[in-house]
Symmetry: C2
Subunit: 340 residues, 2 copies
Amino acid sequence: MNTVVPLEIERLSRLSTDILTKHGFSDQHATAIAKIITTCQIDDCHSHGLFRLLMCCETMKAGKIDGQALPVLHATEGAVTRIDARQGMSLLAFEAGLPRLIDNTRKHGIAALAINRCFHFSALWPEVEQLSSIGLAAMAMVPSHSWVAPAGGKRGTLGTNPLAFSWPRSGRNPFTFDFATSGFARGEIELYLRAGKPLPEGVAVDKDGYPTTDPQAALDGAMLTFGGYKGSALSIMIELLAGPLIDDLTSMESMKFAEGMGGAPYHGELILAFDPDHFSGGQTARNDARAERLFADIVDQGARLPSQRRFDARARNIARGYVEVPAALFEDLKTLQNGG
Amino acid sequence: MNTVVPLEIERLSRLSTDILTKHGFSDQHATAIAKIITTCQIDDCHSHGLFRLLMCCETMKAGKIDGQALPVLHATEGAVTRIDARQGMSLLAFEAGLPRLIDNTRKHGIAALAINRCFHFSALWPEVEQLSSIGLAAMAMVPSHSWVAPAGGKRGTLGTNPLAFSWPRSGRNPFTFDFATSGFARGEIELYLRAGKPLPEGVAVDKDGYPTTDPQAALDGAMLTFGGYKGSALSIMIELLAGPLIDDLTSMESMKFAEGMGGAPYHGELILAFDPDHFSGGQTARNDARAERLFADIVDQGARLPSQRRFDARARNIARGYVEVPAALFEDLKTLQNGG
């Protein structure tokens, strides 16, 4: 059954906040979470849209998250902003740290935001796109749970460790990517499991280290990184920069912390921002033109820029005023909305 | 013929500076270049060791490089150091900018060094390892020439765009990687060509866009990125950050600038540095231990950390006091040393 339900865009936010507040999130947290979920759903980014409300509720049931926690900014100097999410969901902490990240980037040319002690379930592209929407370039990364084997290994050590990047384009959608350094995103495997579909070859091994295409065996075993030893190296870099560098957990430690209770992983997040005006010595205009020539050469040979499908979905969904949600998911959401 | 010639380590630097000064590089440039070439050769990093002296001489013959250029630091504020290599080789500019990069990183927590208008032939790992050797984490990236097709494309738009990263480990070799975002490094393809060996499948297309394993056809056609669309996205990010962000050329523009004359590409370079003590709020020791547990879990399952082969070679070559150089290359170098 692939039936879908149309859902008006104006109802997305209310549906999300209803579910979140009914399940223990403060109004502030619910609003911050609903904003990101709505943003993802409008772009047909199903794995990180309304589907993730289920994980938010599971996270609350697992008992470790503080749905009321108010993030606290560390009194730091320099170009690094450190914010303690105090075991709340990451998104309110991101919002609270963002103004200082922006100020520091404008002031120093480059700056970082380190979010500590947060539960994390969300796509990173809405965060880097908030920065590119005001003319800054940005990169974001997080560990997750140790579901992914390093190149040449056979058990989970690394997280799915996504890397996101966004580059501002005047009057156009930004150049944005947001990919898991695992061959597949964990959320995608969960969608395959729900849909009863086999995985492609080469993205996972079972609990004994053998290749598998069974979503449940993959979830019980270990995923593989994309791109062989290079993807593995990149994933380790993300562990280090968004973990030990910022005094926060690795994916192994996050997994251990969860004690098998499910829900969102608990760890840190690192966001870097770059001010093109500062880096280019005020030559932003001519360098924007230079970047556009690069993008044009990619598109002219029939290749696509990353996120193009997402931007197309956004335009289509906004124009028609509704998104399409899998009917089974919509039923689950209605149950949650009624406090189930 | 795979015969090799032993060459005493103490002779590497003198051989390199002799060749470089005989071919138009100032003593300062020759010393900076020889230092990196020697470092690479001691690690058996053949593609970026003595072999690259040929490219340095070719670059001089191509006529655009200034072998005497003294780099000039821009009077910039904030955490970004900008240095103009003034059409010289990159390495002297890196050396000149490094102290300010280190000062800025200690002061701000995160800092960047942008090298502009440089010819560039060198591996990035010796640069990031200079930073990790004093306790900083570091990342470096450069464009090159537009030899690499984007995912879904069929002609060269992107450079081989290497990304390097190094993480300091107390009393041990650092965690370091340095990989081309192309499936193969350009230097590797040149070594295959010299050796008359076919390339692996999937790393290149010919000039008509068809897959090829012929090294010369690959050099005449386009290389592919590693890791499909994710590697391609990463490569585009490197184009943007080490190009338009810092007011310097993309790989397409670098290729155009060369006018088919060969030699090293001409473009910019971006180095980022991170102070773990600053990011962790002074908790470096416990986070070093955390990183070591991560590395131990990787090694314990039989996987290798990146650069391990290089560190092993370094230990072996330093212990025996000599490196092994292909005999044919050594003949070429002797000819160059005699002014040929």
